[in-house]
């Protein structure tokens, strides 16, 4: 990371020119995107990225329409446009769709589309995983939205606080749709995050060290890591609330030992970092666009990157500032208040760096500039009101009023929607070479900017005058009438700007394709000429601003003079590079297009949604279809190609594929297990939180399972892991599958012992929150045993069919990782259940 920001250009290019005849045609054949309805089987990041962005924008429009319904209802007092019940569904869906189906997906979608080209890779490392994540989100999200038309949409607010969302006060299916629908869409977001981390760390162009990596890639790396640690909390929370609703396990019911605040902790441990998960990608885009429009490198670039990391870490100490009126201890609240102010410092570093860059450079006046200036104005105001609400007594005054509605819209629309619009004006030329209209852009901007401030600024005042959030109407004599009418007019003006943009975007995208070029004279690699296969050759990067500091790079890359101008194995490939120095390490062979990710995603979405509707048989059919499609997809992967080495440049021969810790799939499995461990930690936190509310633990009437059974269970798990370890050292031997199956027997027996222990202790999950929390930990371990019961026969089958070998052992190594993790988790849950009562004694 201490490499100089630029180095002298090497005299010799990686590959000689001219390139052999037929080389480009073979590359095109391998990467050609299917046409017609087969386009849906495409997994290339460009196709998936565009579909992903389009779907996210569709949800932005749909949720925006819901916002207009809200503003129509509130335009005048005592309005009967929407009934109270419908209004509850409308505002819940507005928040939920905006946050979960627009804001998070759109930032991941833009990254899926942009990052490979910006990093000089041909594609992301797991294209089928991207396709799966997209289709799961699109199918599940659209079905979830349609619940609104059946009156089944959730109505408990976008953060779904119990006890309102428990069965007592929300007896219908509405809340279940939120819990199961959103829960699995989160899984799709996590899949995207794993893809991005591995893509950023392992597939950068040779020479693009971490120090030279674009700020946007840094922002996405920080965000993806944040997703890995933040999203598990809400997945665990939704699982617990759904378990309460479906099986009467009283995690959040105070009179049975539960605690509604447990939900708030879990939700906001996700929910606050999520604000930054949405904002940081936008900040990364801003840091990419501003140097271009100012025509000068980003001022204090290293400080900006450090600030991104700082915001990411600080954001995990802020969750409880959403709970200042929930009755937390005054000291805890003060710590969170201090952290909420501390996070303003790294954010300010970025804002000042942007201002300085604009000041230093010569600013191009165009649509992106307008939206970036609009972003800064609105976001800074939102940030300032954020510091105001971090002051506890002020928050007590304005909590749950329209002041908060104003604040969050200033932060989210200012901090994210305006930069996304700037990004669309800036990057849309990448699609077909055409720019959006500058004349229309001025109209769009002023309608959106004016409409936004007209709509949301008055809300600060309505809030201070005492108007609470979520009321479906209000009396005419409260002094809120004029302000609400202004807000409603502003919302429609804002919507007119969005509609005008949509018309212009459709008009532009329908125009004939033109050569893209580099219309803004940008410095980043996505502006290199790109086709389905990405760049003609993978660039050698020697500078932080490659297109500025390496003036002949675009021509050389297009001529094929840089790395891998061909397909070395006759399949899709990219170059894997080392995480810090971006030194070429191996040739990463990528999978081609296929229907299985789409089938797996449709099955997953069907399983969750049909299960919610209590259509169990149909749901399980979908679930099994999803598992079958996933196994079918995995079955085709991890196959050694005949070639062991490939020449990617003159004098540079790389191994084809890698194994063990050198492999990108090994690291992806590790990250997946970190997510898994974070979900487990959330369940363990729930157990600790519920236990700490007791005077005596275990509570009267409950006992712990016998200690001997815990030892037996742990011993069986350890034995299983030893057998799997032996299996990893038995590659090519006949005993391998039998060792794995024996390990499975141990794991299943261990869980059988756990269940016997729970039965011996007479721990009924619906008896008390404490018993339910123990059952949740046990259940999560059980889920892993079920996973092992699928993986072990799969591994054995691969061994028997000859699909495990020295160069195709990723399946074995990765399943071994999952196995050892399950062992550790099993020992952890058995220990946690015993340790907490011991400590409380």
């Amino acid at each position: 990371m201490t490499a100089p920001v630029s180095e002298p250009l090497p005299q010799q290019l990686p590959n000689p020119l001219p390139r052999p005849e037929g080389e480009l045609e073979r590359l095109e054949d391998v990467w050609r995107t299917p046409r017609g309805w087969r386009f849906l089987s495409s997994v290339n990041n460009t196709s998936i990225g565009l579909l992903y962005i389009g779907t996210a924008l569709l949800f932005f429009v749909l949720a925006g329409i819901l916002g207009l319904l809200i503003r129509t209802q509130l335009a005048v007092p005592d309005n009967a446009f929407l009934s109270a019940g419908t209004y509850n569904q409308v505002f819940t869906m507005h928040g939920t769709v905006m946050m979960f189906l627009f804001a998070i997906p759109v930032v991941e979608a833009i990254a899926v589309y942009l990052l490979p080209n910006m990093l000089g890779a041909r594609d992301l490392p797991f294209p089928r995983l991207s396709a799966y994540a997209y289709w799961a989100y699109a199918i599940g999200g659209l079905a979830f939205f349609c619940t609104l038309f059946a009156g089944l949409a959730p109505d408990g607010g976008w953060f779904m606080y119990p006890p309102l969302t428990g069965t007592k006060y929300s007896p219908g299916l509405n809340a279940d749709f939120w819990l199961l629908g959103i829960g699995f869409i989160e899984i799709s977001a996590i899949a995207g995050a794993i893809e991005l981390i591995i893509g950023i760390l392992f597939t950068r162009a040779p020479g693009m060290t971490l120090g030279r990596m674009p700020v946007y890639a840094w922002a996405m790396l920080v965000v993806a890591v944040m997703i890995v640690f933040a999203f598990p909390a809400v997945i665990a929370g939704t699982a617990l609330l759904e378990l309460e609703r479906a099986f009467d396990m009283p995690f959040f019911i105070a009179e049975r030992g539960g605690d509604p605040l447990l939900w708030q902790h879990l939700f906001w441990f996700f929910g606050h970092p999520e604000v930054y998960i949405i904002f940081l990608p936008a900040a990364g885009m801003v840091s990419t666009m501003i140097p271009t429009i100012a025509g000068t490198p980003l001022v204090a670039r290293r400080a900006v990157i450090a600030a991104l990391v700082g915001v990411g870490v600080f954001s995990f100490g802020l969750w409880a500032h959403h709970m200042f009126t929930a009755g937390l201890g005054v000291l805890e609240m003060s710590f969170v208040s201090a952290a909420s102010m501390a996070v303003a410092v790294p954010t300010a570093i970025q804002v000042f760096a942007w201002i300085c860059t604009l000041w230093k450079g010569s600013v191009q006046r165009g649509a992106p500039t307008l939206f970036l200036l609009g972003f800064m104005f609105i976001f800074v105001l939102g940030g300032l009101t954020g510091v105001m609400v971090a002051v506890i007594p002020f928050d007590w005054q304005v909590h749950d009023t329209y002041f908060i509605v104003a604040h969050l819209h200033y932060v989210l629309i200012g901090g994210m929607v305006f930069p996304v619009f700037a990004a669309m004006y800036y990057w849309i030329p990448l699609i077909n070479g055409n720019r959006l209209s500058e004349t229309w852009a001025r109209w769009v901007f002023w309608l959106m900017f004016g409409g936004f401030n007209l709509s949301f600024f008055p809300m600060h005042i309505t809030g201070l005058l005492g108007m609470p959030r979520r009321v479906y109407t209000y009396a005419p004599d409260l002094g809120w009438n004029g302000l609400n009418l202004l807000s409603s007019v502003g919302a429609f003006v804002f919507a007119a700007g969005v509609a005008l943009f949509a018309v212009d975007a459709v008009r532009t995208l329908r125009r004939d394709e033109r050569r893209v070029g580099n219309p803004w004279n940008a410095s980043t690699l996505e502006w290199l000429t790109s086709e389905d296969y990405g760049n003609r050759s993978i660039p050698r990067v020697t500078a932080t601003n490659p297109l500025w500091d390496q003036p002949t790079l675009a021509r050389e890359v297009e001529e094929g003079a840089h790395y891998l101008p061909q397909t070395a194995t006759g399949r899709r490939e990219t170059i894997a590079t080392s995480p810090v120095g971006a030194r070429p390490t191996y040739l990463l062979v990528l999978p081609g297009d296929g229907w299985l990710p789409l089938v797996a995603a449709a099955g997953t979405a069907g399983f969750f949604l049909l299960l919610t509707m209590k259509l169990s048989w149909l749901a399980w059919t979908c679930g099994l279809a999803a598992i079958a499609a996933t196994i079918g997809w995995l079955w085709q992967s991890d196959r050694a190609v005949p070639q062991t080495e490939a020449e990617v440049a003159s004098g540079l021969t790389l191994p084809v594929g890698a194994t063990g810790t050198a492999s990108h799939s090994w690291w992806a499995t590790i990250i997946m297990l970190v997510v898994d461990a974070s979900i487990f930690a959330s369940f363990a936190f729930a157990y600790l939180h519920i236990s700490m509310r007791l005077q005596v633990c275990p509570p009267p009437g409950s006992t712990l399972p016998p200690l001997a059974l815990a030892w037996l269970s742990a011993g069986l798990l350890a034995a299983g892991s030893v057998l799997v370890w032996l299996a990893t050292r038995s590659l090519g031997r006949r005993r391998l599958p039998w060792l794995v199956l024996a390990a499975l027997a141990c794991a299943v027996a261990s869980f059988g012992v756990d269940l016997h222990g729970l039965r011996a202790a007479d721990l009924a999950p619906d008896a008390s929150a404490w018993a339910a929390a123990v059952a949740a930990l046990a259940g999560y371990q059980g889920l892993h045993i079920v996973l092992l019961a699928i993986l072990a026969p799969y591994l054995a089958l691969r061994a028997w069919r000859g699909h495990l070998g020295a160069r195709s052992r990723a399946t074995l190594d990765n399943i071994a990782l999952v196995w050892h993790y399950t062992t550790l988790q099993g020992i952890a849950w058995l220990s946690a259940v015993r340790l907490v009562p011991l400590l409380m004694d």
Binding site: T2, A306, G310, V313, G329, L654, R693
Partner: protein
Amino acid sequence: MTTANHASEHFFRRLLRGILPLLVWLLHFAFCYGLAATQCTPAAMRAGGPDRTLLGAATVLALLACAWLAWRARGVPARRDAGLLEWAGFLFAVLSLVAVCWNAVPVLLVAGCA
């Protein structure tokens, strides 16, 4: 032939060195919040509220750690060849020092659980 050699890059060691000050803040924050929350729950309620002596000691330790990390990196702004890692280490040390200082204010001013 070029071979994979991730180990020589010391990725995790460098990462840890860079973000060490932020980890100090995170540990300090988690300890303070955890202790205050624990000593105000029915299971471990402490008369008089959270133990401010213990909180104060942890805060002094964290401040010393951040100050030492900032002192160690004091030459970075003047160095023209300082890399991203050095800059990050310096900025994080200053940021963490500020954040721990702010965390110290409630320890000095606030007592009790209510």
